[in-house]
C-alpha cells in the first residue's frame, strides 16, 4: 500500500477536497506520499479538526474559578475541594454503533474511559445517552439489544458503575442512532496528567494492546454521511477488549503514582497519528517514531496501516529520560506491551520511520493549527410557533396511563439492569432518579451527574431547545441537592455542508452558551458528531448536555420517591400549560407541533437555588424536576418510586386540567414535605419571589395506593406500574 501513488481519486477517497489537498501540498512544499496523505486525512477530518464548528465553539463559556482544565485536553477538570478534582467528558460513537452495535458501543465506553484515566483520574461513573429509531423500524430492536449489551459488556468488566443516562426513540434516528457515553473520574489536584510533550530527547513509549488492522479510517468514517453501502464499513469499526483496558487503567494509575511521566495521551480516533502529533503540538516539540518498534498483532502491517489503525486499549506516553525500566516493570506486571518507539525532538516535525526509511515527515503545526477552519454558510430557520389544538374532553388519567407506557416515557429498567450500577460501592443515587450521585470515595461529598437533551424542542427551535437542554441538566443536578458545576457536551447534528443543518448548529451553540453563562455552568469538554445523515435524511438536532454538580453532604440528598403518607405536595415554578412540542400532544393527539417551551434562565436560577437551599438545610428530602410529560407524569413517577399514592387538590377550578397536568413549562420542581413544614416553605418561596403552590397530599384513604383528586377518576399505582414497566421488556421480547 505504501507504494501506492497519490492520484486525485485517492485524494477523494480520503475525504479531502481539492482545496484541502492543494493546501497540504503548499504546507509540505511537495506532494505528500500515501502515508502522509492518510495522516492529513484523519487529522483534518471533521472528527479530529472540528473544522466546521471550531469558529462557533469559541463562543462558548469555558471558564470559572473552579475550572482547572477547559476544552482542548483529553477531558475537562473541575476543582471539587479538599485537593480532589473531577475529570469528565462525553463522546459520541454514533457511526460505529449503527454499523456494529455491540462493538461500536463497547469501544465508545472504552474510549471515553481512556480520555479520563489518561489525565490521572480513576473513572467512577458512566452515563449513556442513547437515541434509537422508531420502534417499528426493522433494525431498532437489534440496535438496542447490541448497544446495551456492548455498554454493559465493557463497563461491567471495567468495574465502573453505569449509573445514568437516557434512552429514547424517534424515526429521525432510523438511519443514524446516537450513542453518547460520558465518563466521570476522580483525581487529586496535584496528580493531574496532561498531553503536552515538552522537551527534546525524551523517550516516547507505547503501552497497552498490540496494533492491528482494525478501525483504519474510523475518524474519516465518522466525518461523512451514510449511504446504502454503509454496511461495508464494518471493518472500520474497532473491537474492544475491556480486560486489557482494565489492566491498562491499573497500570497507568500505578505509573502515575511515580513522577516518571512528562505527558500521556490515549490513542483514540486516528490512533498513533493523532496521539503523537497532538502531544508534540501541545508541547511545542517534534517527535520521531520508528514503526518497527510498535507492537504488532498482525504480520506485514504497512506504515499506512499502523499510523491509521484505531486498535483499542493503547496509550502513548512521554517519560523522563532514564525512567523507561521502571515504567516497563509496571506494564510487564500487568502483562501489557511496552515499547520505546521514539523520542521527542526540537524540530517541530513528525517524522515516521519504517524499515529504515523515512515514510512520513511533516511539520506538526500543519496537522493541527493549519487544519482548515470553515465558516460554513448557514440559514437560521424560523422556529416553529403556535399552540397546538387538543381535544378537551379526553380523560386525564387515561392519558396518563397511556403516556407512562410509551417508548420514551416508560421505565428503562430493562436497560439499566444490564449495567452494573453498584460496583465500587459508592453509588448513592442509582438509575431512575433525576441525577445519579456517586460518593467521592472515603468522604461525605458526592458528584451528581445527568445527561439531557430534548431533540423535539431542538428541532422546533435549536436555540431555545439547546438552552432547555442545559437548563434541564442543571435542574436535574439541583433536584438532588447538588450545586451544578460544569458541563461536557456531545453535539449531534446532521450535515454541516447544508446551510439548514449548519444553522441548527450555530443556533444551538448560541443557546447553550447563553444558558451556560446565565447558570454559571461552563463547558469544559465535549465533542461534535456531524454528518448524522442517511440518504439525505438528517437527524433531529441533539446537543446532548452532560452536567456534573457537587453535593456537599450525601447524607442530605433528595430523591424523587415519596417517603411518607400525608406529606404536602408543593409545586415550585409557574404552571402556564405550555403544550407545544409536549409529550402529551405527540403521544395522545399524535402530532409533533407548536413552539417548544421557552426557558427563562433568571427564573430557572431563582427557582433552582431556592429548592437547593431547602435540601441543603435538610428541610426537604423528596424532590423531582418536572420535565418530559409535565406535572402529572412527575407526580406519578414519584408515587411509583415510593409506592405511595397521592390525593391532589387545587384551590381554583381551571377550565381544563389537560394543560395544567401535561404542559411542559420549565423551571419547575415537585416537592413533598411533611405537612407541618408546608406553610413555611410556601411562605419563604413567596418571599424569595418564587412561585409555589400546594397541590395536595401523598397517600390517601384507599386500601391500595392510587393517584386521585380534583374530580379525576382514580388510577391505581398498580395499573400505572404495569404500563410503565411493561413496554420495553415486551418490545425487546419481540412484542408490542
Amino acid at each position: 500500500m505504501h507504494a501506492q501513488t497519490v492520484t486525485s481519486e485517492v485524494v477523494r477517497e480520503h475525504g479531502l477536497s481539492e482545496e484541502e489537498y492543494a493546501k497540504i501540498k503548499s504546507l509540505l512544499g511537495r506532494e505528500p506520499n500515501i502515508v502522509e496523505l492518510g495522516v492529513f486525512s484523519v487529522m483534518w477530518s471533521e472528527h479530529c479538526s472540528y473544522k466546521s464548528t471550531r469558529a462557533h465553539l469559541k463562543k462558548l463559556p469555558t471558564k470559572a474559578p473552579w475550572v482547572i482544565q477547559g476544552p482542548g485536553e483529553n477531558a475537562g477538570i473541575i476543582d471539587i475541594g479538599d485537593g480532589d478534582v473531577c475529570v469528565f467528558k462525553m463522546e459520541s460513537h454514533n457511526h460505529p454503533s449503527f454499523i456494529e452495535p455491540y462493538q461500536g458501543a463497547a469501544t465508545g465506553v472504552g474510549g471515553i474511559m481512556r480520555d479520563v484515566f489518561t489525565m490521572g483520574a480513576r473513572p467512577i461513573a458512566m452515563l449513556d445517552s442513547l437515541r434509537f429509531g422508531e420502534p417499528e423500524n426493522a433494525k431498532t430492536r437489534h440496535l438496542v439489544s447490541g448497544v446495551v449489551a456492548g455498554i454493559g459488556g465493557y463497563g461491567n468488566c471495567m468495574g465502573v458503575p453505569t449509573v445514568g443516562g437516557e434512552v429514547s426513540f424517534h424515526r429521525s434516528y432510523n438511519g443514524n442512532i446516537l450513542v453518547n457515553a460520558m465518563c466521570v473520574g476522580l483525581a487529586k489536584k496535584d496528580k493531574i496528567f496532561y498531553s503536552a510533550a515538552k522537551g527534546a530527547g525524551n523517550p516516547v513509549v507505547y503501552v497497552g494492546s498490540k496494533t492491528g488492522r482494525d478501525g483504519i479510517h474510523g475518524a474519516t468514517m465518522a466525518s461523512a454521511e451514510f449511504n446504502e453501502d454503509s454496511e461495508e464499513k464494518r471493518p472500520t469499526v474497532q473491537v474492544g477488549d475491556p480486560f486489557t483496558e482494565k489492566l491498562l487503567l491499573e497500570a497507568c494509575l500505578e505509573l502515575m503514582a511515580t513522577d516518571a511521566i512528562i505527558a500521556i495521551q490515549d490513542m483514540g480516533a486516528a490512533g498513533l497519528t493523532s496521539s503523537s502529533s497532538e502531544m508534540a503540538d501541545k508541547g511545542g516539540a517534534g517527535v520521531e517514531i520508528d514503526l518497527d518498534k510498535v507492537p504488532q498483532r498482525e504480520t506485514n502491517l504497512t506504515a499506512y496501516e499502523m499510523m491509521l489503525s484505531e486498535s483499542q486499549e493503547r496509550m502513548l506516553a512521554v517519560l523522563k529520560p532514564g525512567r523507561e525500566a521502571e515504567a516497563e516493570r509496571i506494564f510487564r506486571k500487568w502483562e501489557l506491551d511496552f515499547s520505546v518507539i521514539g523520542r521527542t525532538t526540537d524540530t517541530h516535525r513528525l517524522i515516521v520511520r519504517h524499515k529504515g526509511e523515512i515514510v512520513a515527515d511533516m511539520p506538526v503545526k500543519a496537522l493541527s493549527d493549519e487544519a482548515p477552519v470553515y465558516e460554513r454558510p448557514f440559514v437560521r430557520r424560523a422556529p416553529l410557533a403556535g399552540e397546538p389544538a387538543f381535544d378537551r374532553s379526553r380523560l386525564v388519567m387515561d392519558s396518563l396511563v397511556a403516556i407512562m407506557g410509551t417508548p420514551d416515557m416508560c421505565s428503562k429498567r430493562w436497560v439499566w439492569e444490564q449495567y452494573d450500577y453498584t460496583v465500587m460501592a459508592d453509588s448513592v443515587q442509582r438509575p431512575g432518579g433525576d441525577a445519579a450521585v456517586v460518593r467521592v470515595h472515603g468522604t461525605q461529598k458526592g458528584l451528581a451527574c445527568a445527561t439531557d437533551v430534548s431533540p423535539r424542542y431542538c428541532r422546533a427551535d435549536p436555540f431555545e431547545g439547546a438552552k432547555q437542554a442545559v437548563a434541564e441538566a442543571w435542574r436535574n443536578i439541583t433536584a438532588v441537592g447538588a450545586t451544578p458545576m460544569a458541563v461536557t457536551d456531545c453535539l449531534n447534528f446532521s450535515n454541516p455542508e447544508k446551510p439548514d443543518a449548519m444553522g441548527e448548529i450555530v443556533a444551538a451553540v448560541e443557546g447553550m452558551g447563553e444558558a451556560c453563562r446565565a447558570l454559571s455552568f461552563p463547558i469544559v469538554s465535549g465533542n461534535c458528531s456531524l454528518y448524522n445523515e442517511t440518504q439525505g435524511e438528517g437527524i433531529w438536532p441533539a446537543p446532548c448536555i452532560g452536567g456534573v454538580g457537587l453535593l456537599k453532604d450525601v447524607g442530605r440528598m433528595a430523591t424523587l420517591a415519596f417517603k411518607r403518607e400525608g406529606d404536602a405536595i408543593i409545586v415550585i415554578g409557574e404552571t402556564k400549560g405550555h403544550l407545544g412540542q409536549s409529550v402529551y400532544i405527540r403521544e395522545v393527539e399524535g402530532r409533533e407541533e407548536g413552539a417548544c417551551p421557552p426557558v427563562d434562565l433568571a427564573i430557572e436560577k431563582k427557582n433552582g437555588d431556592f429548592v437547593r437551599t431547602l435540601i441543603e438545610a435538610g428541610r426537604v428530602d423528596t424532590v423531582h424536576d418536572v420535565a418530559d410529560g409535565g406535572l402529572l407524569v412527575a407526580i406519578a413517577e414519584m408515587a411509583l418510586a415510593g409506592n405511595i399514592g397521592a390525593t391532589l387538590r387545587v384551590n381554583y377550578e381551571p377550565e381544563c386540567f389537560i394543560p395544567v397536568f401535561f404542559g411542559e413549562d420549565q423551571a419547575r420542581y415537585v416537592l413533598a414535605v411533611p405537612e407541618e413544614a408546608a406553610d413555611a416553605v410556601i411562605a419563604e418561596a413567596r418571599q424569595a419571589d418564587v412561585t409555589a403552590h400546594h397541590l395536595g397530599y401523598t397517600g390517601g384513604a384507599r386500601d391500595e395506593p392510587v393517584l386521585e383528586g380534583v374530580g379525576l377518576a382514580p388510577v391505581t399505582l398498580a395499573s400505572l406500574r404495569a404500563a410503565h414497566e411493561s413496554w420495553l421488556p415486551t418490545y425487546m421480547a419481540g412484542g408490542n
Partner: protein, 223 residues
C-alpha cells in the same frame, strides 16, 4: 481477625471487599496479588472478590483457578482456613474444585444488576451465624454468569447436608439457578461461595446493611 483479598488482573470488587472488611473487622485486609506465591501465614479469612479475573473470556474463573496464588488458597482451604468467594470469586471456587457445581450464563443470557431477596437457609457455620435461620435479606447481584448448575445427586446432597446457605427468595431468582441456589458451603464448612454481593450492602447510604451480619459472623467466630 486478619483477612486477605486476592487481586486477580481484572478483579473489580477487591476494593469494595476491603472497605467492608476494614469497616467491620477493624483491620485492613492484606491485598494479595494473584502472581504471589502465598497468602500471608497469619490470615484467618481469604476473600476471592468479584470482577472478571482474566476477562472471563474462556469461562469465568477458568483461568484464575490456575494463577499462582490459587495453589496456596487451595492448600490453605484444605487446612481449614476460611475462604469466601463472592460472585467471580464463587466462580473461581467452583472451577478450582473447592465447591461443587458450575455457574453458567444467566438463563436469559443477559447481565443482571439488581437487589434480590435471599433466604438465609443455614446459620450453623462461621459465615452466617449472626443471621436468623430463614431470615429474608436483600443483597444486590451483578453478574452475567450466575446460573448455578449441578447434577441431581450433588444438589440432593447439598440440600441434605445443609450446605445450601443462601437461596433466592421465591420468585426472585435472577439467573435460573437450580433450586434457587445463591450460595453454598463445602463439606468442612470453611469455604463459602455466593453470587450476590454482601459487601455492597454494608452502608445504609447504599441501600441497606443486610450484608454486615456476614462479616460480623466471621468476627464473632474468629475472636
Amino acid at each position: 481477625m486478619k483477612s486477605a483479598v486476592v487481586v486477580f488482573p481484572a478483579s473489580n470488587c477487591d476494593r469494595d471487599a476491603a472497605v467492608a472488611l476494614e469497616q467491620i473487622t477493624g483491620n485492613r485486609p492484606a491485598m494479595v496479588w494473584h502472581g504471589d506465591a502465598e497468602i500471608p501465614g497469619d490470615v484467618d479469612l481469604i476473600v476471592l472478590p468479584g470482577g472478571f479475573s482474566y476477562g472471563d473470556y474462556l469461562r469465568c474463573g477458568a483461568m484464575a483457578r490456575f494463577s499462582r496464588v490459587m495453589q496456596d488458597v487451595i492448600a490453605k482451604a484444605g487446612e481449614g482456613r476460611l475462604v469466601l468467594g463472592i460472585c467471580n470469586g464463587f466462580q473461581v471456587l467452583t472451577e478450582a474444585g473447592l465447591l461443587p457445581g458450575a455457574l453458567m450464563r444467566n438463563a436469559n443470557l443477559k447481565f443482571v444488576c439488581r437487589p434480590v431477596g435471599l433466604t438465609v437457609e443455614e446459620t450453623q457455620n462461621v459465615f452466617t451465624r449472626r443471621y436468623d435461620a430463614g431470615q429474608l435479606v436483600h443483597f444486590p447481584v451483578a453478574h452475567g454468569e450466575g446460573n448455578y448448575v449441578a447434577d441431581g445427586e450433588t444438589l440432593d446432597r447439598l440440600e441434605g447436608e445443609g450446605r445450601v446457605v443462601f437461596r433466592y427468595a421465591p420468585g426472585d431468582n435472577p439467573n435460573g439457578s437450580m433450586r434457587d441456589i445463591a450460595g453454598i458451603i463445602n463439606e468442612k464448612r470453611n469455604v463459602l461461595g455466593l453470587m450476590p454481593h454482601p459487601e455492597r450492602v454494608c452502608d445504609p447510604l447504599l441501600g441497606g446493611t443486610d450484608g454486615r451480619a456476614m462479616f460480623e459472623s466471621l468476627v464473632e467466630a474468629l475472636s
